[in-house]
Structure formats: C-alpha cells, structure tokens
Point group: C2
Chain length 233, copies 2
Amino acid sequence: MRALPPTTVARLPGYLRSLGGLASEGVTTTSSDQLAELVGASPAQLRKDLSYLGAGGRRGVGYEVDHLRRQIAQALGMTEERRVVIVGIGNLGQALAAYSGFADRGFVLVGLFDTDPALVGTEVGGHVVQHVDGLERAVEEQEASVAIVATPASAAQPTTDRLVSAGVTGILNFAPRTVRVPDGVDVREVDLGSELQILGFHARQRSGAAAPAEPAGPAVEPAPEPEPVPAAD
Amino acid sequence: MRALPPTTVARLPGYLRSLGGLASEGVTTTSSDQLAELVGASPAQLRKDLSYLGAGGRRGVGYEVDHLRRQIAQALGMTEERRVVIVGIGNLGQALAAYSGFADRGFVLVGLFDTDPALVGTEVGGHVVQHVDGLERAVEEQEASVAIVATPASAAQPTTDRLVSAGVTGILNFAPRTVRVPDGVDVREVDLGSELQILGFHARQRSGAAAPAEPAGPAVEPAPEPEPVPAAD
DNA sequence: GGTTGTGAATACTTTCACAGCG
DNA sequence: CGCTGTGAAAGTATTCACAACC
C-alpha cells in the first residue's frame, strides 16, 4: 500500500473531524461501526481506508481515538506548517480570510492580495491587503506553498501562473474557471455555480423529467416537457 | 444507459462554462478535441459523457456549440426555475448571497436567514435578512427547493432537518460537518478545511515525506515529525 | 480527409465475507 | 466471543481503438 487512493485521502478530513468530536466527548476508543455511522460511510470502507494508513486497530477492541487522530493528521501533513496566501479579496476572499480553521489545520495565512486600490491597505481578518504587484516577492519571502484564488474568472489563470512560478505548489481555486498547472502542482476547484447545477440535475430527476427520448414507461402523468427557454443569451 | 453517471454529471457544468466561452467568441462548432483541451479532460471522456446525453455530434464535423449548450442546460435542469434560501449569513453567507451567478443558472434567491439579532433586518445582496424562526413558513410560501447552509457546525444538522421537513430537496452544505438527510434529498458538502487538508496531503507527498510506515513496534511514539525540508526542487 | 459513438479493455473503488487475532 | 484486516467479487469509471459516418 504505497500511496493512498485519492478517494481515501478525500475522506480523511471527515474522519479526523469526527474523531475530534469523539475526543472532545472523552471517548478514547472507537470502532469502525461507530465511526462509520458518524461520518456517513460504510464500516467496510472505513476499515479499508484506515488499513491503508496502517492504523493500528486492535481486533476485538477497535481503534484508539487519539492515536488515530495523530496518524491521520500526519498523513495529511498537518504536522508541518503550510503558509498560505489569498488572492482576490472580494466578498468571497474576505470570507475566506476570516476563516478561523487555518491554524487548527497547520495553515498560516501570510498574505492577502488584490488589485482594487480601494481595498489595498485596508485590513481584513487581521491582515493588510497588499497589491498583487508584490505577489511573487511576498510568496517567495514568506515561503508560501499554498494559495487560495478567489479572483474573477478572467484573472484566475494569470494569477495561477504567477503563483506557480513564484513557488506555490498547491492551489485552491474558487474562481469559476478551471486553471491549468504544470505537473507537480496540485489544484482543487471549488465552484458554487457547479455545485448548484449538480443539485439542479438531481432536482430535475426528481421532478419527473423523462430522459430525453425515453418513451417506454408506465402511465406517468403527461410529463411536462419543459418549454424551451428563449434560448441562449 | 438509464441515468448519467455521477462523474459525468459533475463535469457537465464545466463543459457548459467552456461552451459559453466559445459561443461568446463566435465559435459555432467544436470538436471533442477542442473542448477537451478547454476543460482539461480527455477527448474520449468528453465524447463518452456527451454520448450519454445523446448530444448529436456529427462525425467528421463535431458538435454544434449552441445545440450542445441547450442540451446540457436542460440535463442540468436549468430550464426550470429553482428557488433557493441561504441560512447563516455570516461572512461566508454574505459572500454567497452576493453571488451573481444564480440567475444565469436558473436559481432565484428567495430568502436569507440568521439568528443574530444584529443581522436580522439588515440588507445583504438585495435581500433583507430574516430570523430563522420563520424558516419553514418562508420555505413553504416561497416554494424553495434548494437551500445553502452556511451556519456554524453545531447548527448545520438541526437547520438541515428543518429545511428538509419544510420541503427542500437539495442542500449545499458549507458548514464543516456532514449532515444526514433522508432518501430523496440531495446534499453536497463543500468544506474549505477539508480542501486545504487534501492539498496538505499532496504537499506532504512532494516534500519527500518518508513512507508512513512505523515498521514494527507495539508502542508507537508520538514524535514522528519528519525533517523540515525547505523548498527543495 | 476528419470526427463521432461505442464496445472492449483497463483501471479504480466499494462491498462482501470471513480468516485471524485479541 | 467481537472487531479488524484483507483477499476476492462486484460495481464504476476511464481509456483505448476502430468501425461508422460525414
């Protein structure tokens, strides 16, 4: 088991969160059944995930909460400090800058950047907003390895390029545009619009929308094929 | 191919976005190669995804941009209006309330809710914040089918329960806690902390972290901090 | 010529079910 | 006994590669 499957990695933060909850309730030992219930996964999946970590569960007993927390935290690199900058201090950037969970996860916010002269120099979440002109320099000096991009769509790719060339290796992109990065750089895209649209898909399924060209079927009521909207804008 | 695979659904918003870009440049026809390049997917995957939709690509020619847009928009239910409420109007909730992409995607914001008396009655993003006491009533009256939860973690589950019982069938949860919903309700979890931690995992991989193995030994010591490696590569 | 649509092949993920150990 | 760890099975997703068609 050299590398963890990406799906496993994506679940670890949730496990860690639930383990924290257990710990704060004074629980010292847990089982795959209990933890699976908390995180909303299957016990088998949980055991498999944890087995990749070499988590030392004891048969007949379960897992030691504290030990498991340390192991997941280490797998996620939380034992090392990561320095993070945020670029784009609009509504969303400001909310992200105010996020209180950085420290708990080993992240230290070291800079906020924007182009808006009205914003530069103001303080947001305890940091003074700087002009993006100084982005590369600050990234290098501060040894930032992670960046959060919360710019308008049009600025996302250029901003990303600058961040990468300055040495950032992890990017969390909130701009509604997928950004390209070279090998060795990791991007995660988070897009409110896409998430809404995915919800919209399921809502449509539920609302009895027949599949396109799916005539066969029981006597469902005259499915209202939604009138084509006035077309594209 | 009854239903689209979830992975395909998750990619459709990105396709739609890129198609919009092409359309605004006056491009009327595209190919799986061109579109794949834009969205950062493989041409084969794109063709397979589009084939699930029954998108009428023409061999030797490609896809008609406008037709494809309409087809994806319909699959995503964008032709029907979805009414959405936001609960929790803190920093993040305010940023989400100000999001300008609702209308383009067929979503209409119909209510903002919070418990904070200092917030109730104020206007955010063109809407007056209401007290959550009136949540169920408003959801029913406004026929909201989608809710965005941006409350603190502790309020996420109770809020979700209330929303669901009032009739909401799609939830976008930004609170750092997975929420449980009954069958027939769709939840998407978006968590900044988790995303950061996933980035942290990859950063750790890169920084030459040794294999996680504690080869042998019953008692594991809690001091496995690896050597700090400053900016290799 | 070019490009789609798609079965087949490969890769990955989840679930099952039970051996193995405390 | 109870509960983990894990091979094997089942289920999904992606990629390949080429026939079909324009």
